[in-house]
Amino acid sequence: MSTDVLICGAGRTPFGRSEASGRQLAVGAVNAALADAGIEWSRVRAAFGGSDSAGLADTLVAQLGLTGVPFINVKNGCATGGSALVSAVNAIRSGMADVVLAVGFDKHPRGAFDPRPEDWGLGAEYGSDGLMVTTQFFGMKIQRYMYDHGITPRTLALVAEKAYRNGGLTPEAWRRKPVSAEEVLESGMVSDPLTRYMFCSPGAGAAALVLCSPEAARSLDGPPVALRSAAVRTRRFGSFEVFSPWIPGGQLTSVSRDASAAAFEEAGIGPGDVDVCQLQDTESGAEVMHMAECGFCEDGEQERLIASGVTEIGGTLPVNTDGGCIANGEPIGASGLRQVYEIVQQLRGRAGERQVPGEPRVGFTHVYGAPGVSACTVLSR
């Protein structure tokens, strides 16, 4: 068994629109995580972090303090936070450092992301003819899934309704007003079958974690949370990803399935042991599909599970207790660490109005993004 890694501090900023720069938000999250751990920046022996479009993490030392700490930039799309976390874990397990920072931050302009065909190895016609639109992929993946497994639009609406309800219980969330399932369904079709209120929006925010070796954690106050595993995977042949001119026939593979299975195997527990989880919900359909891809149910069971309240805060498998991406928005570099922040609060019993009852012991996080990357963690107290 490899060395235990403990999360001793967690911090985040409010997510949404902000006058602050992405870097300023990052400094705020780092200072919150340091304060939560009860340490000074000078105690940190290594740092890993990044953003997708808000600058280089290592430049944060200008504000945090020029201590000479090794600070590695991570740029890994939607898995930026997860990859920073894996790097931090490896730094502790290798003996490189005993107190390590992981930070993710971002700030995006309004509206859908604006990719260029040439950056994706595609001909210019995919842009000029209108196929370089991320929402199309999400619509088409859940469209097929609904056809294969009997999921209804009502279930997609219930996922969004829950997200806004949980966002209302989360002080740092962006979307905090309740929205009913009927309003979600009537909010205007964006990419069939997904409506406007089923999608998250690009936004701004930052999250940071302080990770420690067991020896270092013993010298700190406060209840640490054990990071049982962290796994990152890229897609295998046969997956369905955004901006694909073609996909292979036959059964689809899933990078989320691969990453979650690796995380559970490393942790030595299974999905049935999880008391609270955070699943990538770029839109409602993603949360539905990721429940199955991460092993929490069989394909198609979501229709019954969601309607019966299983994924609510008071249910047997609470999903996205802070409102997820739908209520927090998507600052790409920050989302993965926001998820871990939320699980840390839940396992410490500090989640306030959104606290999962029954003293949850085991949590799980999952991010997924383009071009087929997923990062998962298993945590316990």
Partner: protein, 135 residues
Amino acid sequence: MDGALIRMATDPRSPTVAVGLQGSCCSGCAVTAYPAEDACPRCGGPAEPAVLQGTGRLWTWTVQRYAPKSPPYQAPPGGFVPFALGYVELVEGVRVAAVLEVDDLDDVRIGMPLTVTAGHGVPRARPTTPGEEGS
């Protein structure tokens, strides 16, 4: 009927009609790709050019309800109108992304027979007429 189709395909006045989809096929693992790739994306071995028939069935779809950001999007002369797009599963097994040329967006269904053609832009698919099936 076959003769008429061949004439259509070679008519120099109609540059966007069916000329076949220029894909590739791996000789080792039989994976078909579109557009053509030099190497097989599954095994990394050499891939040979292959002309795909273009007939198949709709595997999934959506509708682009709002005008994509421009650039890169170039709206047609009459301005943006919502359009359907999807993946057509061809008889060769590959699923190809295409704009769906249908008269009514409400008629789009998974499983509907479609014929995909390649022209100047992205592949385009239109409902297969009974006379084309099996050709």
